[in-house]
């Protein structure tokens, strides 16, 4: 029988068994025990490590005292996407990594799961802890570009402050990378849809499948609205730029993950032996997804070593535990195959002098070329700034990496009344960083634009 490309496909039953949540929610009783473990530190280090500065000891104490609504209010007041952050945040390196219990040689408080407990509770009882203020005459009209974490955060905070917000997003469904790329064993599209629905209930108008660029342009929006927030994220995944990358069976990790989020289970296929190129968190997400989809072997190829990989250690450990193989100091030079990819011609590397990123530069080892057989290649070697879109905005200042330049304390760009945040500013960080940017921008829009209107109104 002829060997078929992307031959592996899970039955719905297998899918269910393999795609269980990686951190299942705490039961009410477990949450109570966990909340009671918290020491309620003063000037707690967990708060400092949370990019949105949630008052973690306070919300945990509220859970311990049975006040889940109050806990959710504390969380959402600093982080409008507290529910998805509870699921997708790398808590191991953020709040939980800072927990004083670590120094005590004890398991840190499971802050992420406690946060989830509080937010899930108010979602389940359809309770809005921070309803939108009534819109007054002085309310600002704000356009938000991009319904990802930064845009949604900005929109939610503004709506709560009583402003009129319209979010524009080019995709079919709102949520951004949270909706289209987050590992499904952390957060499901279904959950993100629910979170988006809660934000819409605050009065936020979300216009999907409207790509801002030519028409409407950012200039059009600035004309129509009092302020505009720019949260488009980054552009496409950087291409490999090697021969064979257009072969069937080769895809960017974000496209691969997007398919996973938006296609019926029965239609998703994966190779038997999958090579993943790159070792960032998205690459690992893709590798772990491929393995869950039924790939027999998944090999991550990285041109540097574990010491330099951009991925979090806990993600690497998780992948390792799931049987994913890592090959260090290997880079593909050509992808092999006629129509379908059948292998990657690779070269071994060694570490040379430090480059501009401060990491040792990988240098090819002469005569080390070898072939790694595979029937699928997924690459994730970084996302670039969406220069094509950003260049449509007259007067917008970007840095040499194409990142939008903002004033940190207000998120104002070089264009008056245009604010920005999220990956387009930071070059690609966590969901929680984008949420913080959106919140800061919303608060400064409120002060600089909405606030001045309010003052004149009063």
């Amino acid at each position: 029988m002829k060997r078929r490309n992307l031959a592996v496909r899970l039955t719905p039953k297998e899918w269910k068994a393999r795609w269980k949540e990686i951190h299942p929610p705490l039961t009410a009783a477990e949450a109570l025990v966990e909340a009671n473990r918290c020491l309620y530190c003063y000037e707690a280090p967990c708060i400092g490590e949370c990019p949105t500065h949630i008052d973690i000891p306070s919300f945990i104490r509220k859970i311990a005292l049975g006040d889940l609504r109050g806990a959710a209010r504390t969380i959402l007041s600093e982080n409008p996407l507290g529910g998805s952050c509870a699921r997708v945040c790398p808590t191991e390196t953020l709040c939980e990594g800072a927990c004083v219990y670590n120094r005590w040689g004890r398991e840190p408080i499971r802050i992420g799961l406690l946060q989830r407990r509080a937010i899930d509770h108010v979602f389940d009882e359809r309770y809005e802890p921070i309803p939108a203020q009534e819109r007054e005459d002085g309310a600002a009209r704000v356009a938000v570009i991009g319904a990802g974490p930064a845009g949604l955060s900005c929109a939610a905070v503004l709506a709560r402050l009583g402003h009129a917000v319209t979010v524009y997003d080019g995709r079919k469904s709102a949520g951004g990378l949270n909706r289209h790329a987050i590992a499904l064993y952390k957060a499901t599209p279904k959950y993100i849809d629910r979170e988006v629905a809660a934000i819409r209930k605050l009065g936020v108008n979300i216009r999907r499948e409207v790509k801002v660029g030519r028409k409407p342009s950012v200039a059009d929006l600035l004309e129509k609205y009092d302020a505009v927030f720019l949260g488009p994220g980054l552009g496409e995944e950087t291409r490999l730029n090697i021969p064979g990358e257009n072969l069937k069976g080769v895809s960017a990790a974000l496209d691969f993950l997007d398919e996973l989020h938006n296609r019926e289970v029965e239609k998703i296929r994966v190779g038997k032996r999958v090579a993943v190129i790159g070792c960032g968190n998205t690459a690992i997400d893709a590798a772990r997804a491929a393995k869950r989809l039924g790939a027999e072997e998944v090999i991550v190829l990285y041109r540097r070593t574990r010491g330099e990989m951009p991925a979090y250690n806990h993600e690497y450990e998780g992948a390792l535990a799931e049987g994913i193989e890592f090959r260090w100091l290997v880079a593909p030079v050509r992808l092999l195959g006629r129509a379908f990819v059948t292998g990657a011609r690779c070269v071994s590397m060694k570490l040379g002098a430090r480059d501009r990123s401060g990491r040792p530069r990988p240098v090819p080892v002469r005569g080390s070329e070898h072939t790694i057989a595979c029937d699928q290649v997924i690459y994730s070697i970084g996302q670039r700034s969406d220069i094509r879109f950003l260049s449509t905005i007259e007067g917008l200042k970007t840095d040499r990496h194409g990142r939008v330049v903002v004033k940190g304390e207000t998120m104002e760009t070089s264009v008056p009344r245009l604010f920005a945040g999220g990956d387009c500013v930071n070059g690609g960080k966590e969901v929680v960083n984008a949420v913080q940017d959106g919140k800061v921008a919303a608060r400064s829009i409120h002060t600089l634009i909405g606030g001045s209107k309010e003052a004149s109104h009063a």
């Binding site: 009671n36 020491l39 530190c41 003063y42 280090p45």
Partner: protein, 416 residues
């Protein structure tokens, strides 16, 4: 192995752990299970004219995830007939001759009735009697329980009635619902009691159901104040035991009761003068099996301290309790933080800053702000060491061993 044998006014038991009169000592079946588990003695659930109980009888004070830190009941004395109870007392005494079996009594305040009950009870072969002058709920409304214990004259009178006919030792169980326990103890002593046991339960309302607005435990939409016990009451009991132990007006053996659930609780009662201890709530919480850890822990501690019998340490701490006026005003300790152990939760800092004497500052060390004691400002109050979650992280260090400068000495020197 140390000898745990206990002796309360001549009543001997293989160990000092007795079950206090209450739900766990309601029947021969239960007490047999308890003795098999290793309890040294048991005070039978109070015998008297059988009563009718309400449904919904207990409530508790939970703190954090700790259940039953405090426990409250509105159950009355036995609801079984006098005959049934006493027949089973006789049977258990026959089956367990080496264990202490005490009959607790609560009878209407009539001399003849008391005489009758004392005789019936002693006919069982029981080792002694305990007069329940303590229950603060229900029976007190009928002129019994704490309504006797709260009036020293009644306590003395009824005790003397009992002593007129009793042949076995008489223990008077005292209520803590009074202002000064020594008055009650003296009354019992003067009435001829051979021992006192304390504390009985404390009047309480543990809490209110915030949906129904009715306090717990609820009985058809209403509640009543109940008797409070459990670990939360131990400090009150220890104080009362120590007050009686130190009182020259009532040189009487003591059976310690109140919140005992660990071996070290028992050691503390004995250090303050108790000859044995009685346990109820902990047995209701965990079952009779807890006596295993009680005996083992006490035995281990005695072994480590070189104590061979309970008498080797009984009452040892009585004299360490004195009037405030005898405390040395020149003695000085200050807090000291072991930075190697500090996890930097800053609980000590905020406790001192808001709740004490602003004697802790945050200083920069290795790139972070950590608490540091302002030694000259520290008054040595202990608060920081109490809130610190890490064992042995904050020590109180002696700065001045004291020079005997007490308030009383100042008064007598005319300097106060």
């Amino acid at each position: 192995m140390p000898d745990l044998t206990a002796d309360l006014a001549g009543i001997r038991s293989p160990n000092p752990f007795w079950l206090a009169s209450g739900p766990p000592t309601n029947s021969e079946y239960q007490i047999a299970r308890a003795f098999d588990a290793g309890w040294g003695g048991a005070v039978w659930k109070t015998v008297g004219e059988p009563i009718v109980n309400v449904s919904s009888r207990y409530s508790s004070l939970d703190i954090g995830t700790r259940r039953m830190m405090g426990f409250n009941n509105i159950e009355l004395i036995t609801d079984r007939t006098v005959e049934d109870n006493l027949r089973e007392v006789a049977s258990i005494k026959r089956r367990y001759p080496d264990h202490a079996v005490i009959v607790s009594l609560m009878v209407e305040p009539k001399r003849e009735t008391w005489h009758e009950f004392v005789k019936m009870s002693e006919d069982t072969g029981a080792d002694g009697l305990e007069l329940n002058f303590g229950c603060p709920h229900g029976m007190s409304e009928r002129g019994m329980g704490s309504s006797v214990g709260q009036v020293p004259e009644y306590t003395k009178m009824i005790t003397s009635w009992v002593k007129e006919v009793a042949r076995t030792p008489v223990i008077v169980k005292l209520t803590p619902n009074i202002t000064d326990i020594t008055f009650a103890a003296r009354a019992a002593y003067e009435g001829g009691a051979d021992a006192v046991s304390l504390i009985n339960t404390i009047n309480s309302i543990t809490g209110i159901d915030l949906d129904t607005f009715v306090p717990r435990p609820a009985v058809a939409g209403k509640s009543s104040h109940g008797g409070y016990c459990g670990p939360a009451v131990k400090p009150i009991a220890l104080h009362m035991v120590s007050a009686i132990a130190a009182d020259e007006g009532a040189p009487i053996p003591i059976s310690g009761i109140g919140g005992i659930e660990r071996w070290d609780d028992a050691a503390e009662f004995i250090l303050l003068g108790a000859s044995n201890v009685q346990v109820c709530t902990a047995a209701m919480h965990y079952g009779f099996r807890i006596v295993e850890e009680l005996r083992s822990g006490l035995s281990t501690w005695m072994e480590e301290k070189g104590f061979e019998t309970l008498d080797d340490f009984r009452g040892r701490s009585v004299n360490a309790v004195t009037d405030w006026g005898n405390l040395d005003l020149s003695y000085k300790i200050v807090a000291s933080i072991d930075w190697k152990k500090c996890i930097n939760c800053k609980l000590c800092y905020i406790a001192c800053e808001d709740g004490a004497h602003q004697s802790i500052e945050l200083v920069r060390r290795r790139g972070e702000m950590i608490p540091s004691i302002k030694q000259d400002d520290c008054v040595g109050c202990n608060l920081c060491s109490l809130v610190c979650p890490v064992d042995d992280c904050i020590h109180m260090v002696e700065r001045d061993p004291g020079r005997g400068d007490t308030w009383k000495s100042r008064v007598s020197a005319g300097k106060a």
